[in-house]
Structure formats: structure tokens, C-alpha cells
């Protein structure tokens, strides 16, 4: 078998995967809070065909054996958690984080469930009955806050407006003359090992089941926000951190590499054709 053919096909597969990833990034270049994915290639499986002692001739520069590689694969996909641009929306339930922090939400709607994390801060207030309203993400997952060190959902009583301060403190502002009520503090998690965060649907990130959550994210809600460089902006959303120029450049590089691999594939096909037609 002509192994050039296998090598070229394998690497075209890997390039296709990279292309899929770039397409995902480009498709989400306008998604609020989206973080671009990056990946690197790696060469695979090298074989060392043994050579007999007679092959050790004067002038030879490497140890015995013929080393042969078998193409490339995409080795690890990583999240680039760098800051996206903030955009003012004027909506008081839009919240953006500046700095390395994540909102915590619960996809199953109960506090006992596994936490998920997101930067997608375009929240909404929905009625929970009786005039109270709860802060949820635009996919309907309740946002978690801390009140006195205890996790809870954010419920704004009837007649009050929600304000969020730069350190995440939540207050309900009532009609003129009434005292504002304390509603806790937005729970902010800092990703210490972003490569262990797993992208799940709806722009959320989760922690794989076999990994301890505390190893991946740390709770920084009660720490002084200024020292960590984190601030929460009400009335803003964070745009996607995808830079179209970079993605297009990558796209071109991948496309050219794909073309070259395809060329190698067709030339190895020609070689096989020649071998088949040895007898004319």
C-alpha cells in the first residue's frame, strides 16, 4: 500500500476538523459572551522500520532504522478566554464581566444541580408569580448569587428595579422614598484552568464529571474585585472575542494546507496508477 495516500488522507481529516472549528468561531462572531476556540496539530504515530547492521555505512548520519511519519491530527481544543469588547445596550438586565470571571447558572433550575458557567450576560427578569421576578439567562437558566455566603437565585420583589454594582452587589430600588433592599452579590467564578472547561450548548461551560470543580474554577465573589481586575457592568453585553481577521487568516492557511495535502494524495494516486500499468 502506498502510505503517502494514508498520510495525506489522515491529515486532510485533521484539517477538516480545524476548518469545522474555524467555521464555528466565525458563525459565533456576533454571539454575546462567546469565547473562541483554538487548537493545535500534532504529528502522529511514527514507525521505525528496522535496518540490518549492514546498513551502517560510512557517511550515514543517523542511527539505524528508517523513520516514517503518518500525518497529523488535531490534538487539543482550547478555549481562549480573553476579553471581548463591551457594548452598551441600555437594558438594565444586560450584564458584562470585565476581567477573568464567569457567571454561574443552574441548567436544571435547582440549587442542588451541577453548576454551569457562562459569559453570556444578556439576562432577563421573568415572573415567578405573585409579582416577583427572577433573573435568568436568555436560555432560561437561573443565575446564581450569594447572600451571606449562601448560594441562591436572584428574585426581585414587585415594584423594585434591579441595580448591579461594579463589584457585583445586587440591590432592589423601590419607589422614591423607600429604602433599597439588598439582594446579595452576583456569584463570580474565576477559571484557573480554562483548558478543563468543557463547552456545552447555549454558550455555557461545564466541568467534566471526573474533575473536581474547585480545581478548575475558584469562587471569587467575596474577594475584593478590584484586586482581581474583575468588574461587573450593568447595561452592557460582552461581544464575542472572535477576531474575524485572525479567523480568516487561519482559514486561508488551513485551506492551502488542505490543497497541498490533496495534491499529495492525487500524486500518490498517480503513482499507484503507474504501478498498475507497469505492463502497459
Amino acid at each position: 500500500m502506498n502510505s503517502s495516500m494514508i498520510t495525506a488522507a489522515v491529515s486532510m481529516n485533521a484539517l477538516q476538523q480545524k476548518l469545522d472549528m474555524l467555521a464555528d468561531n466565525i458563525a459565533n462572531s456576533n454571539t454575546v459572551g462567546y469565547k473562541r476556540k483554538t487548537s493545535v496539530f500534532e504529528d502522529i504515530l511514527t514507525t521505525l522500520s528496522p535496518q540490518q547492521q549492514d546498513f551502517s555505512q560510512p557517511g550515514r548520519r543517523t542511527p539505524l532504522g528508517l523513520v516514517q511519519g503518518w500525518g497529523a491530527r488535531l490534538s487539543s481544543m482550547q478555549l481562549d478566554l480573553s476579553q471581548g469588547m463591551l457594548q452598551q445596550t441600555g437594558s438594565m438586565t444586560d450584564v458584562a464581566i470585565e476581567g477573568n470571571g464567569l457567571f454561574e447558572v443552574r441548567t436544571d433550575g435547582t440549587l442542588d444541580g451541577a453548576p454551569s458557567f457562562t459569559r453570556h450576560g444578556s439576562f432577563q427578569l421573568v415572573s415567578t408569580g405573585g409579582g416577583d421576578r427572577m433573573l435568568i439567562t436568555n436560555s432560561g437558566y437561573p443565575v446564581v448569587a450569594q447572600d451571606g455566603g449562601v448560594d441562591g437565585f436572584i428574585v426581585v420583589p414587585e415594584g423594585y428595579n434591579l441595580t448591579i454594582e461594579a463589584d457585583g452587589t445586587l440591590r432592589g430600588i423601590g419607589p422614591t422614598g423607600s429604602t433599597p433592599i439588598e439582594l446579595g452579590k452576583l456569584k463570580i467564578m474565576q477559571a484557573t484552568k480554562p483548558e478543563l472547561l468543557q463547552s456545552i450548548s447555549d454558550n455555557l461551560y461545564g466541568v467534566p464529571e471526573n474533575v473536581n470543580i474547585a480545581d478548575v474554577v475558584t469562587d471569587v465573589t467575596q474577594l475584593p474585585a478590584e484586586e482581581l481586575g474583575i468588574s461587573v457592568r450593568q447595561g452592557f453585553v460582552e461581544n464575542s472575542n472572535v477576531n474575524l481577521t485572525d479567523e480568516m487568516t487561519d482559514l486561508m492557511i488551513v485551506q492551502r494546507a488542505y490543497q497541498l495535502s490533496a495534491r499529495a494524495l492525487s500524486s500518490s494516486d498517480e503513482m499507484m496508477g503507474m504501478a498498475n500499468n507497469l505492463r502497459g
Binding site: N2, T62, L66, G69, D80, S267, M271
Partner: protein, 288 residues
């Protein structure tokens, strides 16, 4: 039997080996830290041909003939790849231009003195540990962190520090800076991290003794004297936030691919010609 038939057949195999090596280079034009290979061919040992049965039974030498070619070795080209900025704190590139007194290296990293002795340019590589506990070397500095803070290569091998132990970082990598010498320091204060971790970077005097194992790893197959940790005198620089691109030249690879293909074709033609000669010998000569 016609000798050249087998010579041409060995040419086919050799060109195929070349083609395979070039295809693998092309497959890895986007692999960080990848080093391309060049296939070196060698002729079969020479045979001495003699004409027997001359006048009075003499033997007259005709000359030497070699009856084939084979792909002898795939030589690594360890020249520096371009550095690409990625802004990722765990992407670390090595820039190595180690000098040897009295040697002026050419583009392929070797120097031949007036007596014909060859000196190869030493190269620097990161040191990593396989799950079996063996030390390997790599130029792919796209690292990541395990859940316990251990620094890993992109396929999960532990990255070694100067003390021979895997590097562990317990703070977020956003706060870690890597100095040009490979020491890990706190980004804000500039002070060394707990345990003073420093990347173990090895200098290999003869890079031809490195054997590729796949996944960006190399095994060193030489004596211990040719392998040591870099010192401050070696011209090696560690760059954080960069990746070293593959050193494969795409234009050259495309040309080599074509040349291997056409050389294969030429050999195929030669076989066909021999086939026709044999056809003549078997079927036409002696036809009544």
C-alpha cells in the same frame, strides 16, 4: 537476466519512500514545533564486472556497476521554525541558535571544515516525561495544565523542570511569566514561584541522533556526553505567548513532491522498456 530491471524496481521503491516522507512533511505544515525530514538515498554496493573466457582463458575486468538504490535514512532538518504570537500564556516557544567555536553553520545547520569534518549545530529542546517514566524531548511548546496543576504537553506528557521533576503551578497561568531563561515567575511581582520552577531545556550536540517517535516527541539515541542542560552561554531563548511553527517549506515540499512523482514515472518507464526488450528476446528472436 537484465540487471537494470531490478535497478529500476529499486528506484521505484526509493521514490515512493521519498514521496511518503514529503507527504508527511506536508501533512505537518501546521504542526507547532514540527521538524521536516529529507530522505537520503544510497546506491547498492558496487559490483565488479569481468569478462570471462577471453583469449587463453583470461579474465578481463569491465568495470564497476551498482545495481540499485535504497532510501537509507530520513534526515531531520532541525533548523529554527518561525515564531507565531498566540498571546496564550501556556504557549512557549524555543528560539535556539547555539554557536560552536570556529564553526559557521549553513542553512541546514552544518559546518564542514577544510579537512572535511562535519560539525552539526546543537539544538535545544524541552524535556518531557512519558507515562512509562522515560525522558523524551520536544519542540512543541503548546502546553496545558492538568487539574492538579501539572504542566502537560498538548497530548498529556508531563513537562520537566531543571530538578528533573514535573513542573507544577498552583496559581492561574494568567499570573505566570516565563523568563527568557525558562524560569517561571509571578507576573506581577517578578519573583520566582513556589519551589522556583524552571523549564528543563536540553542541548543536543548532534541533532541527527534524535529519533522521532510521533506526537512531537523525540528520543535521544546517543551517548550521554552529547546531551546536557543548557547554560547561560548557549544562545537559547524561551518566549512565552509564542508557538514555533513547523519548519517545512511548502514551496520546496510541493516541488519535491513533483520531482519524486516524475522520478517514479521515469523508473516505471525504464521497467517498461526492459519489459519490451525481454519481449523481443523471448518472442521475436529465433522466430522462424
Amino acid at each position: 537476466m537484465l540487471r537494470g530491471l531490478y535497478t529500476a524496481a529499486s528506484g521505484l521503491t526509493t521514490q515512493q519512500r521519498r514521496h511518503e516522507a514529503i507527504t508527511n512533511n506536508i501533512a505537518n505544515i501546521n504542526t507547532p514545533g514540527f521538524k521536516g525530514t529529507n530522505t537520503v538515498s544510497r546506491t547498492f554496493p558496487d559490483m565488479l564486472l569481468s569478462a570471462m573466457g577471453g583469449p587463453e582463458g583470461t579474465v578481463k575486468p569491465i568495470g564497476k556497476l551498482s545495481t540499485g538504490v535504497f532510501a537509507e535514512e530520513n534526515l531531520l532538518s532541525l533548523i529554527q521554525g518561525d515564531l507565531q504570537e498566540t498571546f496564550r500564556s501556556q504557549d512557549i516557544a524555543l528560539f535556539s541558535d547555539i554557536l560552536v567555536p570556529g564553526a559557521v553553520f549553513d542553512g541546514s545547520g552544518k559546518f564542514v571544515d577544510e579537512n572535511g569534518a562535519i560539525t552539526y549545530q546543537p539544538q535545544a529542546l524541552f524535556s518531557i516525561l512519558t507515562p512509562e517514566g522515560e525522558e523524551r524531548y520536544t519542540r512543541n511548546g503548546s502546553f496545558k495544565t492538568a487539574s492538579d496543576g501539572t504542566l502537560l504537553t498538548s497530548d498529556g506528557m508531563r513537562v520537566l523542570g531543571v530538578d528533573g521533576q514535573p513542573i507544577r503551578v498552583n496559581i492561574s497561568w494568567d499570573n505566570v511569566s516565563v523568563t527568557a531563561g525558562g524560569a517561571l515567575v509571578n507576573h506581577a511581582t517578578g519573583l520566582p514561584l513556589e519551589g522556583e520552577p524552571q523549564l528543563r531545556i536540553m542541548r543536543v550536540d548532534n541533532p541527527n541522533l534524535l529519533i522521532r517517535e510521533g506526537d512531537g516527541r523525540f528520543r535521544y539515541d546517543g551517548d550521554a556526553a552529547g546531551l546536557r542542560q543548557i547554560t547561560a552561554d548557549d544562545r537559547v531563548e524561551v518566549r512565552q505567548g509564542f508557538l514555533e511553527r513547523s519548519n517545512v517549506d511548502t514551496a520546496q515540499a510541493a516541488v519535491d513532491l513533483m520531482s519524486a512523482l516524475r522520478a517514479y514515472e521515469a523508473n516505471q518507464r525504464v521497467i517498461q522498456f526492459y519489459d519490451r526488450s525481454l519481449d523481443k528476446a523471448a518472442n521475436d528472436i529465433g522466430r522462424v
